[in-house]
Symmetry: C2
Subunit: 178 residues, 2 copies
């Protein structure tokens, strides 16, 4: 049982139960080890969380890479945005979303490791968005930043039960094809 083989199991547990409530003994049980061994491998809980956040960011980056290699570029900004909203709303993404907001909270409070992980994930998403911008878009860099802001706003509103409000806003702003 190496560090690397533990991280996916730890990530699964954290996705299901939350990052804030994660304590060593439940984490260890989920990974099939003991708290003793987690400390042995990672040195401290803080270091474990740091490594775990890095691992999560890596998984997220790999997911985006796979999506980029697989998907066809959408023809308009509206199509791109609609696709992203649909993916964010997918129930399968919900555990990831819950984890994401916890990471944002940690970043806002500048807990060690959180800001870096969050920044990396957003940066990766921004790069992916730039690559996905429609061919011939007049300002792919700015447009990607614009869409990123809109998507994250919509995701936050959806998280607090105002998903429809975001939908209406993006429609009214002309970002979504009606």
């Amino acid at each position: 049982m190496s560090k690397e083989s533990l991280l996916p199991l730890l990530m699964a547990h954290v996705m299901a139960h939350g990052l804030g409530q994660a304590s060593l003994r439940p984490l260890a049980k989920a990974a099939g080890t003991s708290d003793r061994m987690l400390i042995y491998h990672f040195g401290s809980k803080e270091a474990l969380i740091g490594d775990l956040l890095g691992h999560i960011a890596g998984v997220y980056a790999a997911m985006l890479d796979a999506a980029l290699a697989a998907g066809a570029r959408p023809a308009t900004r509206g199509e791109l945005l609609a696709g992203l909203l649909a993916q964010n709303g997918d129930p399968a993404m919900q555990p990831f979303q819950m984890l994401w907001w916890e990471i944002v909270g940690g970043a806002a409070r500048d807990l060690p490791g959180f800001r870096g992980a969050a920044q990396g994930m957003v940066g990766k998403l921004l790069g992916w968005l730039e690559a996905q911008m429609p061919e011939g878009d007049p300002d792919p860099a700015g447009g990607a930043r614009f869409l990123l802001t809109a998507i994250e706003g919509a995701a936050m509103l959806a998280a607090v039960g105002h998903g429809e409000t975001a939908q209406q806003g993006l429609l009214a702003g002309g970002l979504l094809p009606s």
Copy 2:
């Protein structure tokens, strides 16, 4: 020492130290009582957090009401958005922002009381935005929802250190006066 007189002190402590880390004894010390008394007044920690979230939402609503009564309506959507971004970036607002992301995280995980509080606060902000929309705006309701989405997206990006990215996006989207 009644429930109502305790809530502002509890809120201050939570703003400074976070909601997730709040435990009864430090909370009680901050409010000048004992954990014993907190349980006596609120019944349980869960109920305390619920009441506290309600109180926070109320304070937020009162802040918006005061701002609405005091301020002059901006002339354009861009001005309105710029003013909001400036206010969100104000260091004095940072404790509130940190608390907000924790509330969003709780709402995403559907912890008791969090979703309701978050929903109420966003609803209040939306109403305030509608009232603040420039006179003669062709679609105040839709425009307010659009601005709300943009603002929240920008706030999230700022929380993870991508504030400049959001700024560039809103500029590229034509939402901010250049």
